[in-house]
């Protein structure tokens, strides 16, 4: 009915002109004192004919409306409609073209970044190999920085892969220690250089996850701990069954920053002090944790240290 009233509104000119014409006829017949039936009869007849024509018109109107709703364009009825339709066609073409161009640009970019990340790994590998044969303070420092570069490259790759639809997750049961140990090894040079104590005993825990992605999270947390701790320790342990805790005695996080550290691009006070912070590491951790079904959270006291919790418990999933 709604559609019908809208139809009537669109035909308001015709209806009003009928009423006006009918009024003129009626009043002039009455003025000339003709019998009222002589005017009422033709008026009723033409009204009936008008209604029939309108009904037919409404049926057309409705079918055109339904077509348009489904984004089909009905054949134009007149010149004006044809003009509109030309414009629509043109806009559609343009939209399609710019969409294609945008997705092509995006794919090119992704492809380039991927190639770049692989390209840069070769000089990194060469530097790493050659630095290793050198046993000196400066070589160790360079090695530490090289490790950071590697981590940043890994971050780019992770960032690209995160939203790509070709991303693979291989969910299996893994030994958590097998994931933690290589992550520690990656930062061993910095631990030793900064004389940080590492307290870690095998946690002996089996976790249902994707090892590559979980490695990224754990590496990122350890990297932050090492970066923001100048003396003291980093501890890695299970704080509760299924909850891994990575604790450090670093500078800590301000209370007002704490709720937002997992947001994209949020650097907080520490990040602003340290110009290198991108605010993307923990954001990626959170996104990956969400995808894996793990929960990540933080606790911190400024000047005392930070604890990052990674809850890997999951509701029992029935395996058929």
């Amino acid at each position: 009915m709604n559609l019908f009233s809208r139809y009537l509104r669109s035909r308001i000119k015709v209806i009003i002109s009928y009423i006006v014409v009918a009024g003129i006829f009626a009043s002039s017949y009455l003025l000339f004192d003709m019998p009222s039936i002589a005017v009422l009869y033709p008026l009723c007849m033409s009204l009936a004919a008008g209604i029939i024509v309108m009904m037919i018109d409404f049926i057309f109107f409705r079918s055109r409306h339904e077509k348009l709703i489904n984004e089909e364009i009905p054949a134009p009825k007149d010149q004006i409609e044809e003009d509109y339709q030309l414009i629509i066609e043109k806009l559609k073409e343009e939209a399609k073209f710019s969409q294609m161009k945008a997705s092509e640009d995006y794919n090119n970019m992704i492809e380039y970044y991927t190639v770049w990340a692989h390209q840069i790994k070769t000089p990194i590998a060469a530097m790493r190999l050659n630095l290793q044969s050198e046993d000196s303070e400066s070589a160790r420092r360079l090695m530490g920085d090289l490790g950071r570069i590697e981590a940043y490259v890994e971050m780019v790759l992770t960032f690209l892969r995160l939203d790509s639809n070709s991303t693979d997750y291989l969910i299996k049961e893994y030994d958590l220690d097998e994931i933690i140990r290589p992550a520690i090894r990656k930062y061993s040079k910095e631990f030793i250089l900064k004389k940080l104590k590492l307290e870690y005993e095998p946690v002996d825990f089996k976790v249902l996850t994707d090892s590559k992605w979980l490695s990224f999270i754990i590496e990122q947390i350890i990297s932050n701990s090492v970066k923001y701790t100048s003396e003291g320790y980093v501890k890695i342990y299970m704080s509760n069954p299924g909850v891994l805790c990575i604790e450090d005695s670093g500078i800590g996080i301000r209370e007002e920053d704490l709720p937002r550290i997992f947001e994209n691009g949020y650097t907080g006070f520490n990040g602003r002090e340290d110009k290198r912070a991108s605010g993307i590491g923990l954001y990626l951790c959170k996104r990956i944790a969400d995808n894996l079904g793990h929960k990540i959270s933080a606790e911190s006291t400024q000047g005392v240290g930070t604890k990052i919790y990674l809850d890997m418990n999951r509701k029992e999933i029935g395996i058929e």
């Binding site: 790493r128 590697e150 004389k195």
Partner: protein, 225 residues
């Protein structure tokens, strides 16, 4: 002496590999003509091949397939591609192992040694280091001196290994700690001191007195007269 053939187009990496394998008394040959890899292999008859996947002219997969038509020589791929697809591809093409770039020297050495051991001499202690008349056997973590076999604890073995690899050079405490961390023994400075002390005692009881000398404030040195 084992001959290792390296097919890698990045000179930095090729030299790095060559340097770290030479320390283990392996003879390393780096590819000179990327169009004639097969010919060079035929001429050199290497015991093991280390190959990059992306190479000029023909990729590593191609050469690997070609090599496999005539030879079973162990092949290790090194590549910056770390996705599972590439690793699986490499193995399917007949490679024996895959090392993602960037990698540590210790990983390369360990994989090369393991493959050589498996392919050529299963039982012989072919990878050994010598200094001051003592022989360190990498197969069973023992030291042989004057015909006596001395069992070494894990950390002791690792410390001695690094010192013998760098004999006549001062090895910093940091380097020793790094080496221990690589074997998942996350020691701090105090623990290292204790470990070195224990190692000295072990050596002394075997007759190797003052085998390891302390360079105060720097590290340790093992002199091979």
């Amino acid at each position: 002496m084992y001959k290792i053939y390296v097919v890698e187009d990045d000179k930095g990496i090729a030299d790095g590999i060559s340097q770290c394998l030479s320390a283990w008394e392996m003879e390393v040959a780096i590819v000179s003509d990327f169009r004639n890899v097969l010919g060079e292999i035929k001429e050199l008859e290497p015991h093991l091949i280390i190959m990059d996947i992306t190479l000029p002219y023909m990729g590593g997969y191609h050469w690997c397939q070609e090599i496999r038509k005539t030879s079973n020589v162990p092949i290790i791929f090194i590549s910056s591609a770390t996705d599972n697809m590439n690793i699986i591809m490499a193995m399917n093409m007949g490679a024996d192992d895959y090392i993602p770039k960037p990698f540590d020297q210790s990983i390369l050495i360990a994989k090369v040694q393991a493959l050589l051991r498996r392919a050529y001499d299963f039982n012989q202690g072919s990878f050994s280091l010598t200094a001051g008349g003592a022989v360190l056997n990498t197969n069973d973590n023992t030291l042989t001196f004057n015909g006596n076999k001395i069992e070494l604890a894990r950390n002791e073995y690792k410390i001695l290994l690094v010192l013998m690899q760098n004999k006549n050079k001062v090895v910093s405490r940091e380097k020793l700690m790094e080496a221990l961390w690589e074997t998942d023994s996350f020691v701090d400075e105090n623990t290292l001191t204790v470990n070195v002390g224990r190692l000295r005692k072990t050596l002394e009881s075997a007759g190797l007195k003052d085998f390891i000398k302390t360079k105060f404030g720097v590290g340790y040195i093992l002199e091979d007269e």
